[in-house]
Amino acid sequence: MTTQSSTPTVQITGVRKSFGAVRAVDDVSFDVYPGEIFGMLGPNGAGKTTTIRLMLDIFRPDAGKVAVFGGPMEEEKKNRIGYMPEERGMYRDQKLESTLVYFARLKGMDEDEARDRLAGWLQRLDLYDHRQKRVQDLSKGMQQKAQIISTLVHEPDLIIIDEPFSGLDPVNTRLVKEIIEEQRQAGRTIIMSTHQMYQVEALCNRIVLIDKGRSVLYGAVDEIKRRFAGNAVLIEGEGDFTSVDGVLDAYQRNGAWHLPLAAGISPQEVLRSLASREDVHIERFEVAEASLDDIFVMVVQGETPDG
């Protein structure tokens, strides 16, 4: 469980990073605590990957402070981190097992220990019989699972995973979710970057939303959803609900229309507007609990509950 009274595993404070004239990260701040699954959200090109690279000391910030395990990054601390980048990295022309052993050894494991642990992981993820195959001969899903093994085999205290479910079928998605939950229960800190909001809702304790290099939303998932409650309505009925004043978006889910509202627009105003129209027939109207999907869209479009 999250223990915010303890020292943060990762502490990012006012971090900035530019590449030439482009400011990729601009004054981003957040803390990640031991034993929590922390979601890092944001549209493509928002600055998430750069923030992760700053965290991992791959890049140095132009300004601000990054603290990992209570202080600046040191070589020994790197072995306590498991990182799975969005662009999976494996030697395609080499055998799976030897590639995994090489990465495990770079994380400080000796060869025998690495082979022992890898055998267990390979069996659990149904890759044991494929361990002598070249990586390029494995399916995308298998390569994805191999990457997860490479991230976890050295039993890191901090796990950073970028889009962990991409390329996985439902069975393996469930397996990976189990593994992530298992790691959290073992007291490890997990930072997960993904676009799959329902996975974030299901797994994450807290989130930060980064947009255009800035952190625009940060806090516990439940608290954020409470803040955004009332900012969407659920409608069942007949007619076209895609062009309603004060509504940001309109989409159907489980036979009902879901309408996130613009800042400053109340559900009553939307109801009055719809009631005055003759081209729609309303059978059900209720205030919806905002999903992270809606919140993501609202925040990225500059629509916050406070306007």
Binding site: I81, Y83, M90, Y91, Y102
Partner: protein
């Protein structure tokens, strides 16, 4: 250090699993050797000392020649040459045989031969090589008849054929006059050129592979970019040294057994300390070029883009090959000396000079110092290109970008 060792071992294991490495190590030098030495082998066969071989072409078919001895010099023809020489009583009979294709040439020894030494040769067409072979044969037969002794004829025609040299002072190296000496100098130039370019090429491929496989980002969470570079340079350097040892070891074996394998090769003299210079020039040359190509690999997003710059990078190493004749004709001239002292051309040029002729002792030392300083400079420069932002970048590599990176890197003095 632990990370460098792991990268080094990984590079060695990965490269040793490549078929291309073993092909270049064993098959390629054999091809070079064949191209370099087969002409020499054939030439030696034609101009050797055995009179029978003089008339035995590559196909082994004897060519009979006729002679008309009006001076009465040739009274006996050795039994093993009788099938090659046919006596005719007069020129007309001999010419009839020549027209009928029974003989290839006619030698006429006129009646006043003993006074004038003049010999007339009649041949259907001009054939300088065959003429020389036949003339050697006739010269030997005439000498043997005049002296009435075949062994004395051998001695008269080649009085110092079996000289054994005993050196009591430092030998002056001069391999220019022998074809074998030229072959050794040229072979060494080729060996150095190919071993340096191929091993440096492995460096480029290895760095670009980290980018193409997207492994650079994973590696950078475990080690520093410079550790990655050093591990690769040293690992591939070990393999380059292994390759070089196999090639030069094979070459030395050939030299030691030269008398058996190839006439004249055993007589090639190399200066004291030559092999030490060879290894050092090779190692520092490898460091210069692998650093340069490693830096290109760090900047290029793919092997294809990186290889576009390879030719320009290795161009200086090619220059001595283009001017190879100067190392034989004027090894201590201005151009040869400049090329052997200029660090980018020194690895091939200096070794070729050392193998070709005596070089003033200070020059190989000075060349080595300049080369070592250049290697140090390029390693430091390459280390600045091995950064996370370059290794993780997909930006296309152009001359403009390369100039910009160089300007920023050198200008910032990072």
């Amino acid at each position: 250090m632990h990370n460098i060792t792991l990268v080094l071992r990984h590079e060695i294991a990965t490269t040793l699993r490549k078929r291309s490495f073993w092909f270049t190590t064993f098959v390629f030098p054999l091809l070079i050797l064949a191209f370099s030495l087969i002409p020499q082998l054939l030439t030696d066969r034609f101009v050797g000392d055995d009179p029978v071989s003089l008339l035995t072409g590559p196909a082994g078919a004897p060519q009979q020649i006729g002679y008309v001895d009006q001076a009465g010099v040739i009274t006996t023809v050795p039994a093993d040459l009788s099938s090659l020489l046919e006596a005719f009583p007069d020129r007309e009979t001999a010419e009839q045989a020549l027209h009928a294709g029974q003989i290839s040439q006619i030698y006429l020894l006129p009646a006043d031969f003993m006074q004038t030494g003049e010999v007339v040769v009649v041949a259907p067409s001009l054939s300088p090589l065959a003429g020389e072979q036949n003339e050697n044969l006739l010269r030997w037969v005439v000498a043997a008849n005049l002296l009435k002794d075949e062994q004395r004829a051998d001695l008269v025609l080649a009085p110092t054929a079996a000289v054994q040299e005993t050196v009591i002072a430092p030998a002056e190296v001069d391999n220019r006059s022998s074809a074998a000496g030229f072959g050794v100098s040229f072979a060494l130039m080729f060996i150095l050129f190919f071993s340096i370019t191929m091993s440096s090429g492995y460096m480029l491929q290895s760095v670009v592979k980290e980018k193409e496989n997207r492994t650079a980002e994973v590696l950078l969470t475990s080690l520093k970019p410079q550790e990655l570079m050093i591990g690769k340079v040293v690992g591939l350097g070990c393999l380059a040294l292994l390759q070089m040892t196999i090639w030069v070891g094979g070459g030395r074996l050939l030299l030691n057994r030269g008398a058996d394998l190839l006439a004249g090769l055993g007589s090639v003299t190399l200066p004291a300390g030559f092999w030490v210079y060879l290894v050092l020039y090779f190692l520092f040359g490898y460091l210069v070029y692998s650093s340069e190509l490693g830096a290109i690999g760090a900047l290029a997003p793919s092997a294809r883009e990186g290889s576009q710059f390879t030719f320009v990078i290795i161009l200086p190493l090619l220059i001595p090959l283009w001017f190879n004749s100067i190392f034989l004709n004027d090894p201590n001239g201005t151009l040869a000396t400049v090329l052997s002292l200029f660090p980018l051309t020194a690895p091939t040029a200096m070794i070729t000079r050392l193998a070709s002729a005596s070089v003033p002792a200070w020059q190989p030392v000075a060349g080595l110092i300049l080369l070592a300083v250049t290697a140090w400079f390029f390693i430091r420069l390459a280390a600045r290109f091995f950064r996370a932002d370059t290794l993780l970048s997909d930006t296309s590599l152009s001359w403009t970008r390369l100039r910009g990176e160089l300007r920023n890197t050198v200008g910032s003095g990072k």
